[in-house]
Amino acid sequence: MYEIISSVKRDYIIDLVKQGKRSDGRALDQLRDATIEMGVLKTANGSAKVKLGKTHVLVGVKLMHAEPFPDTPDSGVLIVNAELLPMASPTFEPGPPRVEAIEVARVVDRGIRESEAIDLDKLGIKSGEDVWSVFVDIDVLDHDGGLIDAAALAAIAALTNAKPPAEEDWKLPEFPLSKKPVAVTIAKIDDKLVVDPCLDEERVMEARLTITTIDDGSICAMQKGGAGHFTREELQQAYELASAKATEWRAKLG
């Protein structure tokens, strides 16, 4: 089941973009207001709630014992999962994860993993038998676009306030998070690049590019989506926008 955007609304959004404007009054290169609340769940080791415009995402981090992978006997394990809850949108039905949820989880995972934000090598307990696994579970409660961006932001926020379990096996002074990867999505509407599209804009866009950067501006993950295309110049412009805007969101993480 999917929602149809009325052609009137579609034309409205595109006309606005032609004039350099957006339906919520933002400039083309302006992010939505993001509010981050940390430590909202008592039952998780770390948690964060992100409100990005009307999009609402909650992430809980759980640290649990697990068996390591055979070729990395002393390294912890990172597992990222995402659920687009039925409450988040009339189009999300209960059932097995849709490809949209899988994509959110995998792109957020790549941002954290490839940037080596978590020093997994410090999370071993007993070589080959027992390590710490870091479960990052993303729940989307309300969908108004920007799910990957909001989820990635909430994931890192949750990791920054992750308190170690009160256990003997935890030997580190704090949770080993060394970088803050931030994902920013750039949409292409009427051949213009638009930052942080809301849901209506996602429905009319030709394509989107999500770029995850770390503190020094280097890229650790990218994901193009949508049935359109980008020129090489647009790729470079999108990078410039994404890395600049990531700094704004990163500043909110403290």
Partner: protein
């Protein structure tokens, strides 16, 4: 696995290639009898089939789009395609690849010529050797053309990456697993635009630009092979 210390020694990669060199490539069109269109691609040790059915009637009816065809893509790896047997059935990785593959192919199709119908693309990896999704897209594009689906151009795909701080073309298995960056990309060669882009690893802004440029150059040879495969199907018989 005995991990090699360096992946590039004296300017040569583990399989003897230069950084900008492609693995051996073979593409054939029209290899299956029942499908409307099909193709087979060998890239290094990758062996990938693509089959296209359609445009055909779409069921269930409520999934139809009244003014154009729906493109459906399924990327799948056979259980015996990898060293550690893969359990049959779609997994999260296959589902994601199916999605990005569809987004890579759709821009060139004239979907509005076939309202209410569906075009099914099936990609099956029989033997995997890094770069399966790129081989799959190359095969799928040829299969779509083979099926007679009107297209603005073919879509050509290759992976670029960074290994031992060097930008390389068409990553092999060891480079994919141990290298610094992997970036599969698909382009519409005639229009020089990008329809698939994924990346994980580390790139500075400059490395990203270089890698994209290398991908465009690397795709030229693959594009030629795709076009040849389609023409060859009819050329051989001409001489009879």
């Amino acid at each position: 696995m005995d991990e090699p210390e360096k992946l590039i020694v004296d300017g040569k990669r583990l399989d003897g290639r230069a950084p900008e060199e492609l693995r051996p490539l073979k593409i054939q069109a029209g290899v299956l009898e029942r499908a409307d269109g099909s193709a087979y691609v060998e890239l290094g040790n990758n062996k990938v089939f693509a089959a296209v059915y359609g445009p055909r009637e779409m069921h269930p009816r409520h999934d139809q789009e009244s003014d154009k065809a729906v493109l459906r893509c399924r990327y799948s790896m056979a259980p015996f395609s990898v060293d550690d047997r893969k359990r049959p059935g779609p997994d999260r990785r296959s589902m994601e690849i199916s999605k990005v593959t569809k987004d890579a192919l759709e821009p060139v199709l004239f979907l509005e010529l076939y309202p209410r119908s569906v075009i099914d693309v099936f990609i099956e990896v029989l033997q995997a050797d890094a770069g399966t999704r790129t081989a799959g897209i190359n095969a799928a594009a040829v299969a779509l053309a083979d099926a007679g689906v009107p297209m603005r151009d073919l879509v050509t795909s290759v992976a670029v990456g960074k290994v031992d701080d060097t930008i390389v073309l068409d990553l092999m298995k060891e480079e994919d697993q141990l290298g610094q960056t992997d970036m599969p990309i698909a382009i519409v060669p005639r229009k020089k635009v990008v329809t698939l882009l994924q990346m994980d690893g580390h790139f500075t802004k400059e490395e990203f630009r270089q890698a994209v440029d290398l991908a465009f150059v690397g795709c030229e040879k693959i594009y030629e092979a795709q076009r040849q495969a389609l023409k060859e199907k009819y050329a051989i018989k001409e001489g009879e």
